[in-house]
């Protein structure tokens, strides 16, 4: 079906507007919150107009999917992009206005959390724009900029997720950086250790069950169990987290080093030997560079795994976003949990994009593969 994802996205946006909650409000942390629908939340007469406009935009995206055929893909992408930008801008603006409503600000300990409807609408927007043409991808950046703009402007400061952020703003950035470095340094250590191990296993041409058993054990054993075990010799803090994450990073790296080297065309290796390259030259000039794409794939897996696993470091005093998330869990504060998770999601995506980009660069400029 033409633009199926885009249409489904617009339907999700529309249904969320009508059926799901815009915000959850509770007068304090202990009381269970009350859900407010979008109509209830926007309530003022101007708010109702805004609601209607949002609905019209959703219907517009939906209908536009039918008007355009495949040839007009480019036009479709641009229209959906512009519609989405307008939608997001109006939505965020109205969220800010409505949050100043008297009911929500009567208690200073009141918590105004984003409701399920809001998150589904974000999902809907992403879906509506998913298959965009290259030239239309820029709208994503416009939307991200708008979001950042609203966050910085203070317009949305009444939302409790931002209140949580400001109440710990001094450590928040520090924890993000700590999370990032913990994950990256573990992967770096995994690379430094894993590549020689992989090369050794490949070159000795034996299965080396013992080494692989230990690595597999790392994969099978739950991360948390391994963390618990290492608490005994290493105590709490950075060290055990670093060791566990390194062990986890080792597996994909060792594994991909071996399979990358195995995948190198044996004819090429024979030719290299036959021309009089020494074993070292054959390895450095032929086998290793040609195994690199698979190896980069292993690093990519290791990195995204590590960023997720690093959350657990929060449990044993290793810091990172885990400490915020687990605090949120302990206080049953969904906003705090989200505050911890959103940077992780963004970090995972950014690093994954970076790794894919590096892979593509390597393939294009070093191996000459045009993809």
């Amino acid at each position: 079906m033409r633009f199926a994802l885009s249409k489904i996205g617009s339907v999700i946006m529309l249904l969320s507007l009508f059926l799901l909650s815009a915000v959850v409000y509770s007068p304090n942390r202990i009381v269970t919150g009350k859900e407010y629908s979008f109509l209830e939340y926007f309530r003022t007469s101007s708010g109702i107009v805004v609601f209607v406009v949002l609905c019209i935009i959703c219907i517009g995206i939906f209908v536009f999917g039918f008007i355009c055929d495949e040839k007009k893909h480019k036009i479709h992408s641009h229209v959906v992009g512009i519609f989405s930008v307008a939608f997001l801008f109006i939505l965020l603006f109205q969220y800010g206005l409505a949050s100043q409503n008297i009911i929500f600000s009567e208690f200073s300990y009141g918590r105004l959390s984003l409701g399920g409807g809001f998150w589904l609408i974000i999902l809907g927007i992403i879906m509506a724009n998913w298959g965009s043409t290259n030239t239309a991808r820029g709208y994503f950046f416009v939307m991200i900029s708008i979001t950042i703009g609203f966050l910085v402007s203070g317009h949305l400061n009444s939302l409790s997720i931002l209140k949580e952020l400001f109440s710990r703003s001094d450590t928040f950035l520090e924890q993000i950086i700590r999370h990032f470095w913990l994950a990256c340094s573990a992967v770096a250590a995994g690379i430094v250790l894993g590549i020689p191990i992989g090369v050794y296993i490949f070159r000795s041409n034996k299965p080396h069950k013992a080494i692989l058993f230990v690595l597999n054990l790392g994969q099978t054993l739950p991360t948390l169990a391994l963390l618990g075990l290492l608490l005994i010799p290493l105590g709490i803090g950075f060290a055990p987290a670093f060791v566990v994450l390194t062990i986890y990073a080792l597996f994909p790296i060792v594994h991909n080093t071996i399979s990358g080297l195995k995948l190198v065309d044996s004819e090429v290796v024979t030719a290299a030997k036959g021309m009089g390259m020494s074993p070292g030259q054959v390895f450095m000039k032929v086998q290793f560079p040609l195994a690199m794409p698979v190896l980069l794939g292993g690093m990519r897996t290791a990195l995204s795994q590590a960023i997720g696993n690093t959350i657990l470091a929060g449990l044993i005093g290793g810091g990172g976003m885990g400490s915020i998330i687990f605090l949120g869990l302990a206080q049953s504060s969904p906003d705090l949990i989200l505050l911890g998770i959103i940077p992780i999601v963004i970090m995972t995506f950014l690093l994954d994009f970076a790794m894919v980009y590096i892979q593509q660069l390597y393939q294009r400029y070093y191996l000459g593969v045009v993809s």
């Binding site: 065309d265 004819e267 090429v268 024979t270 030719a271 290299a272 030997k273 036959g274 021309m275 009089g276 390259m277 020494s278 030259q281 000039k285 032929v286 560079p289 040609l290 070093y366 191996l367 000459g368 593969v369």
Partner: protein, 319 residues
């Protein structure tokens, strides 16, 4: 000169080569011919020490291969293999200059040599910066040959170098290679299982089976070899149409006679540089027993050739 002296090579318990002795003189194009698994590639790899003999020795110019450092040895021997084995991450230029670089030639010398070789194998200069992935099969194979010739080795080892090409390209490359070889006079050991290719290229053919040398001789000698106990195997392997294949080695020019009384249609003429297979084919297709021969570059008839000339060509008679 290359000499195999009673070489046996065992992989575990399987004998890939059994008591193999052979001498190859300088400038000779020797074809190792046989079905797959007959040990021909093993024999080839013994020369550049990619395979070490279990028993016996291989000598190059009287020196044992085992006594030299394998890297030094291999840098002095050209090596071209099936599917080329080109480095996919090296440009054409870099692929060709691998051995010169290993031998630490100067940059200027290498550059000059690459240009020379690309002209020799018929590659345009603008191919220099292309990567193997961007080349056609024929172009890649040319690069493979150029790479093997790069450091001007005396010996050239070729392991089914044209094996992966389509028939048209294969014949074209075989002919070009023959031209190059006539000019360079390398000692070439060429492995193939294709009888036609063997006949077209060989100075001498060695037929192998199950690691043993069965017979050695010029393509013509193989045809008439009646003494060998292995006659049945040889004629079976070469095929019943071997005599026709052999005709492709013989040039019309050599068997031409002056024009008879009647003049024939110039339509039914072959060119001077065509081979006897082509002449015979023309006769069969036109339903005649004699055809005219014309100049290579014009339609001027210079003589004729008769079917009996072709038949008697085997006996070595020149009329």
């Amino acid at each position: 000169m290359i000499e195999f002296s009673n070489v046996t090579k065992k992989y575990d318990e399987i004998e890939a080569l059994r008591n193999f002795s052979l001498k190859i003189s300088d400038g000779e194009l020797l074809i190792l011919l046989g079905p797959s698994g007959c040990g021909k590639s093993t024999a080839l790899k013994l020369i550049n020490a990619l395979v070490k003999p279990t028993e016996g020795e291989v000598y190059i110019d009287g020196e044992s291969v085992a006594s030299k450092s394998p890297e030094e040895l291999r840098r002095g021997i050209g090596y071209a293999i099936q599917n080329m084995g080109l480095f996919p991450h090296y440009s054409v230029e870099n692929n060709i200059s691998i051995v010169p670089k290993l031998l630490k030639w100067s940059k200027i010398d290498i550059e000059k040599r690459v240009d020379e070789l690309m002209d020799l194998v018929g590659l345009q200069r603008n191919f220099k910066n292309k990567l193997p992935g961007e080349l056609s099969g024929g172009e890649g194979q040319r690069v493979g040959v150029a790479r093997a010739l790069a450091a001007d080795p005396k010996i050239l080892l070729m392991d089914e170098p044209f094996g992966s090409l389509d028939p048209l390209n294969r014949i074209r490359l075989q002919n070009e290679f023959l031209k190059i070889q006539r000019h360079l006079k390398k000692t070439v050991i060429f492995v193939t299982h294709d009888v036609e290719e063997a006949v077209r290229l060989a100075d001498r053919i060695v037929i192998m089976r199950l690691g043993e040398l069965i017979v050695s001789g010029t393509p013509e000698q193989l045809m008439t070899n009646k003494s060998s106990e292995e006659r049945n195997y040889i004629s079976e392997f070469l095929g019943s149409e071997y005599s026709l294949k052999l005709l492709s080695r013989l040039n019309v020019e050599k068997y031409i006679r002056t024009l008879g009384v009647e003049k024939f249609d110039p339509e039914t003429a072959v060119k001077l540089d065509s081979n006897l297979t082509q002449a015979l084919s023309m006769m069969v297709s036109k339903g005649v027993d004699r055809i005219n021969v014309c100049e290579n570059d014009s339609e001027d008839i210079v003589g004729e050739i008769r079917i009996w000339d072709i038949i008697s060509a085997y006996k070595g008679d020149k009329i």
